[in-house]
Structures are given as structure tokens and as C-alpha cells.
């Protein structure tokens, strides 16, 4: 099971800033290990963000997103106490979903 994400969702008026830090290697498939063999690509392909169960943002990522990816976005209309949930799927079909409460 992959490590959990760290999610913060802070409301300021109508705007809520959501910051997500995921734990993932994000291997590009271009790097070689010590013995000269290519390290196979392993990266997050899909990310989706839900506010109270409704998808508000989705993303597709290539392998050039940095290791342990950080992402930030601003969502309207969230109130303190609302639930923000983030899901990612990588190219090995591993997936993880984590949830945070808007504060």
C-alpha cells in the first residue's frame, strides 16, 4: 500500500486553497541504475480531486512531474467542514485515495 498523501485545504472567504503532497517515486523510465540497466517508468498518470464527492479537478501527468509530487489548486464554494478527497492512479495501476477536511 502506498504511503498516505498529505492534504491541506484552507478556506479564506469563498476560495479554498488545496495543497497536496503525494508520496511517489515518479520514475521517468530514462534513468539508469548502478549496473547500467534502465529503471522502468513508474509514475502517477491520473489525479482527481473531489469536493464532497463531486469531481472538481482532474489531471493527467507525465513522468516529468517531480518525485513526491506537490500540487496546489483553488476551489470555490467550499465551506469549513467540507470533504476534499484526492485519488491518484499510477502506470502500475496502484491507486490511493486520501481525504481531508476544509478548515
Amino acid at each position: 500500500m502506498p504511503d498516505p498523501m498529505r492534504i491541506r485545504a484552507q478556506a479564506a472567504g469563498d476560495k479554498t486553497t488545496v495543497r497536496v503532497l503525494m508520496a511517489h517515486e515518479m520514475e521517468t523510465g530514462l534513468r539508469k541504475d548502478a549496473s547500467g540497466k534502465l529503471v522502468p517508468a513508474w509514475y502517477i498518470q491520473h489525479v482527481s480531486a473531489k469536493l464532497n464527492g463531486k469531481v472538481v479537478m482532474s489531471a493527467q501527468w507525465g513522468p516529468s512531474v517531480a518525485k513526491n509530487p506537490f500540487t496546489q489548486f483553488v476551489v470555490h464554494g467550499a465551506k469549513p467542514g467540507d470533504k476534499v478527497s484526492i485519488t491518484w492512479i499510477d502506470n502500475r495501476n496502484e491507486t490511493r485515495t486520501d481525504e481531508a477536511t476544509v478548515s
Binding site: K15, M26, T28, L30, Q45, H46, A49, L51, V55, V56, M57, S58, A59, Q60, W61, G62, P63, S64, V65, A66, K67, P69, F70, T71, Q72, F73, V74, V75, H76, G77, I89, N93, T95
Partner: protein
């Protein structure tokens, strides 16, 4: 007795493997395979990315902005942001011109989300980076910025 025990263990492990491979992730995999635009992510330049996404050639615009450092000391972690001041942005793209594959990230936004996103990317060398905004009315706009990458930790 040991043979039988081994046999049972093997049966159990095969069953768990089948479960893992076949049942649970099947729906997730189908969705991912259907949706992931590998053509766009394998494209080598911006024109090919736009072609793969079925979009017209992007026009430079001051309404789109790309945020990032002027000099990135570590190419493995370069903070990049894309923003657009116009309403009706459907997609925001971040591209790095001289990476092996140009497209880094593609964000699809609903109306509840502001067209202002940030993430971190890897950069192989100093390069132009682009933020591309695709609007609901079909316009495709971009902004660019040059980021110098200092490799080897000399700090410039």
C-alpha cells in the same frame, strides 16, 4: 505432509494473485487506459502535443501566465505554476520545451476551480517552459518563460 502444505500455500498465493490482478483494479485500469492520452505525453514538441489533444495552434497571450524561478538550482524539483485571468478555462497544460517529452502535466478544470494551479516538475536542462490554457470557446493561449537549470550543485 510438507508436499500437501506447499501445495495449499501455492494455491492460496495463486488465488491472491488472481484477485489482485483480476478483480479489484480492473475497473480502475480500464478507466486509466481509456483516459490517459499517451500520444500527447509522448510528443516531442508543442505542435505535436496540440495535435494529439486535437487543439489548434496556441497563440501568445498576456492573459495566461507561467510562474517559476528564473534559475532553478536543482532540475529535479522545479516549482511551476500556470494561471489564466480569462473565464471558461477547461484545461491548463504545463510544458517543458527541452525535456525528452514536452508535456509535463495536464489539468482539467471544472467551473468550481480557479484557473490557477501549481506543481513541481523535473527539468533535464535549461529550457523554455510554457503554460497553455484551453478555453471553452476553443481558444488556445500560451505564455512562456525561460528557466535556467544549474546542474551539479555549483549554485551558479
Amino acid at each position: 505432509m510438507t508436499d500437501r502444505r506447499e501445495m495449499l500455500q501455492r494455491c492460496a498465493s495463486v488465488a491472491t494473485m488472481l484477485m489482485a490482478a483480476g478483480l479489484l483494479p480492473a475497473t480502475a485500469r480500464a478507466q486509466a487506459a481509456a483516459a490517459f492520452n499517451s500520444a500527447a505525453f509522448e510528443a516531442k514538441n508543442m505542435a505535436d502535443v496540440m495535435k494529439a489533444l486535437g487543439a489548434s495552434a496556441p497563440a501568445p497571450s498576456s492573459d495566461v501566465s507561467v510562474h517559476g524561478p528564473d534559475i532553478a538550482e536543482n532540475g529535479a524539483v522545479v516549482p511551476l505554476g500556470a494561471a489564466c485571468t480569462l473565464p471558461g478555462v477547461k484545461r491548463l497544460l504545463l510544458l517543458v520545451e527541452k525535456n525528452p517529452n514536452t508535456l509535463s502535466a495536464m489539468f482539467e478544470l471544472s467551473e468550481a476551480v480557479e484557473p490557477n494551479i501549481a506543481t513541481r516538475v523535473k527539468m533535464g536542462q535549461s529550457s523554455n517552459v510554457f503554460a497553455v490554457a484551453m478555453l471553452a470557446d476553443g481558444r488556445v493561449l500560451f505564455a512562456q518563460k525561460e528557466i535556467k537549470v544549474t546542474l551539479g550543485g555549483c549554485g551558479g
